[in-house]
């Protein structure tokens, strides 16, 4: 939970609130929050997309409402209040999906109601929306929700492509492709997420080493300039 607190309030611009969820503080790849839906419903790109959008919807609305009433809720009952707000929107989403596509509702099963206990949503409500004005909270919810959707899509597309040879139901490989059924099974979810985390670790390391090298180069350049500027040091 300590990771939640890193992104509290601050005087950041509105666009930054939106952008940070997409990459720098991506809920899945960086913060590793909300694992159950991430692993459970990403066996096809379609399921992943619907799940991501549903979560983004709940996250945006609950963030807005929580930030609207943040001065009126007593500290002691705030978590219970947040959970009630979240549960209300999840019920709405559950019935919406059922109305739009019954097949999708069956495919996602109990995992739509389980959005209630997604630590990402409660985490954003507690760490961000309860401290910031409504506009910022709404943008934060949108950004985090989109970041979550993108991450789910990454997983869903990988698993569907390898496990079923298709993307969004469109066949990509020839019929002779031997499908890796394991990618569609639960263990495939663990493996795929593990692999994506490794990719992200690698990227993070690269960028951090680059910034260190850049910083070193800067200080080196400064010292060189200094030594050149001071007269009499060169023999």
């Amino acid at each position: 939970m300590s990771k939640l607190i890193t992104s509290g309030s601050g005087d950041t611009s509105a666009t930054d609130e939106f952008i940070k969820g997409l990459w720098r503080e991506n809920p899945i790849f960086v913060q590793v929050l909300g694992m159950c839906p991430t692993l459970a419903v990403t066996n096809s790109a379609n399921n992943a997309l619907v799940m991501g959008l549903a979560t983004a919807f709940v996250l945006t609305l609950s963030n807005s409402i929580v930030s609207l009433i943040r001065h009126r809720v007593p500290k002691q009952v705030r978590i219970a209040t947040y959970i009630m707000i979240i549960a209300t929107f999840v019920t709405v989403v559950d019935y919406l999906i059922q109305a739009i596509s019954l097949d999708m509702h069956k495919a996602l099963g109990a995992f739509v109601p389980l959005i209630v206990v997604n630590c990402l949503i409660l985490g954003r409500a507690e760490a961000f929306a309860s401290k910031n004005p409504m506009g910022k909270s709404l943008l934060d919810g949108l950004g985090m929700g989109l970041g979550f959707t993108i991450a789910l899509l990454c997983l869903g597309i990988t698993r569907e492509l390898i496990g079923n040879g298709s993307i969004f139901g469109w066949a990509v490989f020839a019929d002779s492709y031997q499908q890796w059924v394991i990618m569609l099974l639960p263990s495939g979810g663990f493996f795929t997420l593990g692999l994506w985390l490794i990719v992200f670790n690698r990227l993070k390391r690269k960028t951090s080493t680059i910034t260190i090298i850049k910083a070193k180069a800067k200080t080196n350049a400064k010292t060189i300039v200094k030594s050149n500027a001071t007269p009499g040091t060169t023999p």
């Binding site: 019920t91 630590c119 099974l185 263990s187 493996f191 593990g194 490794i198 670790n201 390391r205």
Partner: protein, 193 residues
């Protein structure tokens, strides 16, 4: 109504459709507290306990909501009941056995946000289990959760001695291990049916 036998429900919940390894419920504590054997068994025991009580109370709530014809309130009612149950269990244990309370520590309140509990309530409603079946289902799910947690502890202890590349360290390699464990549990498929 569901006419599955009690034994098959138990085997199904604990081994074949293990909550952690097949349904991905309760991954957070699974990755979080699977460092030491003592904490893992305590966590497993307290989750099983809360599951049992939550299962019984949500069974009652569901029946009540069906009676007043408001099944759309299911989700909100469940989460409130689970939060209240955890709170009551915490107070009860604190009063009756301070020793047990101290051993469980922070894990008790954290169980509220454990998706395994809400998942259990939702699954038992979907499958239409009766009261006895609900209890057995909760016991099986708790046993499965504890089993997965304890197995994971063993694997992670081995991992600490292994030479893992830097990029793989942390959550990534733990997830890989969980994947292998999940594969192993696939071997139980077809056991209870």
């Amino acid at each position: 109504m569901n006419d599955a036998t009690l034994w098959s429900i138990f085997i199904n919940a604990s081994l074949i459709n293990n909550f952690v390894l097949a349904y991905f419920l309760g991954i957070c504590p699974f990755l979080g507290v699977s460092g030491k054997l003592a904490t893992a068994t305590r966590m497993g025991a307290s989750v099983t306990f809360v599951m049992l009580i939550a299962s019984m109370s949500t069974y009652g709530i569901h029946a009540l909501l069906l009676m007043i014809n408001a099944p759309y309130l299911n989700l909100i009612a469940y989460i409130v009941v689970i939060a209240a149950t955890v709170q009551i269990v915490e107070m009860f244990i604190k009063k009756t056995s301070p020793l047990l309370f101290r051993t469980l520590g922070i894990f008790l309140p954290l169980i509220t946000t454990n998706c395994a509990i809400l998942g259990l309530a939702l699954f038992q409603t979907n499958r239409g289990y009766n009261f006895i079946q609900c209890i057995v289902y909760a016991l099986g799910a708790g046993a499965g959760f504890t089993l997965a947690l304890v197995l994971m502890v063993g694997l992670r202890e081995k991992l600490e001695l292994a030479n893992v590349p830097d990029t793989f360290k942390g959550t990534a390699v733990t997830l890989m291990l969980a994947g292998i464990l999940s594969l192993v549990f696939m071997g139980f498929a077809g056991l209870g049916s």
